[in-house]
Amino acid sequence: MVRHFARLAEKNHHVDRAIYPLGSCTMKYNPRVNEDVAALEGLAGVHPEVEGEYAQGAIAMMYHLGRFLAEISGMDAVSLQPPAGASGELVGMLMVRAYHADRGDQRKTVIVPDSAHGTNPASVALAGYCTMEVASGPDGRIDVDELRREVDGDTAAVMITNPNTLGVFETRIQEIIDVVHEAGALAYLDGANLNASLGIARSGDAGFDIMHFNLHKTFSAPHGGGGPGSGPVGVKAHLTKYLPYPLASRDEAKAEGYEYFMDYDRPKSIGKVHAVYGNFLVMAKAYAYILTLGPEGLRRVAENAVLNANYLQALLEPHYELPYKGYCQHEFVLSATRQKEEHGVRALDIAKRLLDYGVHAPTIYFPLIVKEALMIEPTETESRESLDRFAEAMIAIARESEETPELVTGAPTSTPVGRMDEACAARELDVCSWDGDREE
């Protein structure tokens, strides 16, 4: 049995093996000590229904992690309950609803830039709002004039990713937030790209009312091939009452051993989004990570993430089209339009060919506003040598696209399977028919 799974494991690319530069996914090294401490019996073995006095360490950890995240982001309070980023977005949107409902204000739309992650409009819809898209300007940033035209008394909130998915910082962010606030709407930050801002700028200081974090991106908890994640939500003081219940809290007036408690007495709360308290063991890893780095270390994370991205961008700019020029933040987006138009090589082909070079592909065809997009986020845990190797592969593929394009369009050839026929998979569905046979 172990052999079966060990063989399956061999068929995976993973960040321990080589760079995994998926844009907006922040595939950084997963520190092993975090895995070890999260596995401590005193954490992994605590039943959620024990009396509070028997879970003081667990609740204290949650309370302090919430405080750390609030301090890092400039928010006032944080709920750790959402088990993933999209769940955090839903919580955020439901709090927007509750806020307006309390004011007797029936607003209908949420504005989302056209460069946003797909989860944003999906979460907006789940919360019962209509999405309105705001187009990006020629510099890849939100067009503030366009935003001004769109925002009105029907706007409940604006969801912004900053730095955005093009890897550029919204330089006019305060003006944007002012526009939002003047219309009586709330400003929501999608924290998927927080890695670029740790210790550099705090979203709360810029005026954001709500944001979510991704502990499995920014704070080094492993992604696990698709979860478990953790998507805490931070809010400013005027929205604290709407956070999901229960909230890890502290009453310093109580005796030691009883001071931390899960606060259920939250009548204005939007409710629960997780069966218990959220993904506790993921929180433990993020908590350990923050303590290991400390304030200076977190800042160094952002600095080196941005340095690594700019270095790669500089190496690749001569070989691929770079639609948005200038320094990037933690990620940047190339376009393969030149390769496509001149040699018939698409972004998809380049991604597949990268697999033959033993590295993972960037995010492709996203953000939607860039044709043949290749969205690259190296993260700070890649060494210069690793970045050089990735750049060499990308440059070699640019050359192959010119000289031997069939090599690229026929890739990959060195992976356990060749290019998969996804269209056929959707036509001839087979989703659950494994018969239990594991003969190799």
Partner: protein, 451 residues
């Protein structure tokens, strides 16, 4: 500096390659008045040894099931997990990978999830399962949204015997929609069939849990028949282990099955990560939320796996997606796949039989204590409710002094159950453990205490 491999010299050379004079220059787009000039006020840095000591100290402030005899359950179960499960999920090839966006380099993850889906399908009897949900509660909530979409109706009946967390999360998910949730009352610890019958007209779906929150078996044949005669769709929330000995949801007519898979080899972990699973009929497959892995051939006809039907999902369909879920509980699903594979059909059946017989033994032992009785007369699995001749809080407190956690206070979730405890057995329990609960309870009650 931890986890940043570049040296000072690397940084200088990289800056030169970029053409920037300093790292600060790279942040020129961040407006000056937004720059955090003050150091953020958090502790650290801690050296690895300091961190481990600190975490051990925190861990020591908690009490686990070790050293006590715990009968806590209610949705999160302290199972015995073969060591191989953790070693497989601990393989970096699995845990340091991302969502399998590049199928050719992710066949390990893809095949393991496909196996997970197949196992869920086999357990539930429903042929189309997805790659996992956050937990059983959100799986049920998403099932309600799915059913409302299929039936184009705005009423969902949810039995009061479902897990309170399931109902709370469902209420949150449906809170901003026009869907009305009608809670079906209980009758003898199970869903009130008369109320069900009355509620069915106009309903999109009915949610029942089997075994229910009290551990009781629901009259699922009758429920399935009633729902089948209506236009509504039956959503069954099930305990996957119980399915080794109970009828599958498909057999009593459920069109969507959901459940909590934590009990398949995951630690209790203060309630997270958990593992939601979800399966449906072929007819509703395209309505499923979240990732679905499908079999496919590569360009040379070799068998492999891909993420399929992605046009349902948020990254393609955006606001029209079937759900906003993106990251799910992949690694926990892998753990459950390993766990189920190690136990096998016979092993799972033996486990289920053991939970059934231990629960029966414990119930008999407790009912033999003077003044104590079983609250409900229905058959049960894994857990059951006892009625005490004293306040459950007091009993719980007294028993904990002698190292026994007798179960959950039902009064936390239900009115009129102040003297009731939900007692959960585990495969960990020995006969002595269960006997000590009965004798401890008898001793405490005989001291008089409160009434």
């Amino acid at each position: 500096m931890p986890y940043v491999p570049n040296t000072e010299r690397d940084r200088e050379e990289m800056l030169a390659a970029i053409g920037a004079s300093s790292i600060d220059e790279l942040f020129a787009d961040v407006p000056a008045d937004l720059r955090a000039d003050e150091r953020i006020d958090i502790p650290g840095p801690l050296a690895e040894l300091e961190l481990v000591r600190h975490m051990r100290k925190l861990a020591a402030m908690n009490r686990t099931g070790e050293g006590v005899v715990s009968f806590l359950g209610g949705g999160v179960y302290d199972c015995v997990t073969p060591a191989a499960v953790g070693h497989v999920t601990g393989m970096p090839q699995f845990f340091t990978a991302y969502t399998p966006y590049q199928a050719e380099a992710s066949q390990g993850t893809l095949q393991s999830i496909y196996e997970f889906q197949s196992l869920v399908a086999r357990l539930t009897g429903l042929p189309a399962a997805n790659a996992s949900m956050y937990d059983g509660a959100s799986a049920a909530a998403e099932a309600c949204l799915m059913a409302a979409g299929i039936k184009r109706k705005k009423k969902i009946l949810v039995s009061a015997t479902t897990n309170p967390a399931l109902r709370a999360v469902t209420k949150t998910y449906l809170g901003s929609s026009e869907i009305e949730i009608v809670e079906l009352p209980t009758d003898g610890g199970a869903t009130d069939l008369e109320a069900l019958r009355e509620g069915l007209p106009g309903a999109a779906a009915v949610v029942v849990q089997h075994p229910n929150f009290f551990g009781l078996l629901e009259p699922v044949d009758e429920i399935g028949r009633l729902v089948g005669e209506s236009e509504a769709l039956l959503i069954a929330s099930v305990d996957p282990v119980s399915l080794a000995v109970l009828k599958s949801p498909a057999e009593y007519g459920a069109e969507i099955a959901v459940g909590e898979g934590q009990c398949l080899g995951s630690p209790v972990a203060f309630g997270g990560p958990l593992l939601g699973f979800m399966a449906t009929t072929e007819r509703h497959l395209r309505r499923l939320p979240g990732r679905i892995i499908g079999g496919a051939d590569d360009c040379d006809g070799r068998r492999g796996y891909v993420m399929t039907l992605q046009t349902r999902e948020q990254h393609i369909r955006r606001e029209k997606a079937t759900s906003n879920i993106c990251t799910n509980e992949g690694l926990v699903a892998l753990g459950a796949t390993v766990y189920l594979s190690l136990l096998g059909k016979d092993g799972l059946r033996e486990l289920a039989m053991q939970l059934g017989s231990k629960a029966r033994y414990a119930a008999d032992a407790l009912a033999g204590v003077p003044g104590v009785s079983l609250r409900f007369a229905r058959p049960f699995f894994r857990e059951f409710v006892v009625e005490l001749p004293a306040d459950a809080s007091w009993v719980k407190c007294e028993l904990s002094k002698i190292g026994i956690w007798p179960g959950l206070k039902c009064s936390c979730y239900y009115d009129g159950m102040d003297n009731c405890l939900l007692v959960t057995v585990s495969e960990r329990h020995t006969r002595d453990d269960i006997d000590s609960l009965a004798s401890g309870l008898e001793a405490i009650l005989s001291t008089g205490g409160q009434s």
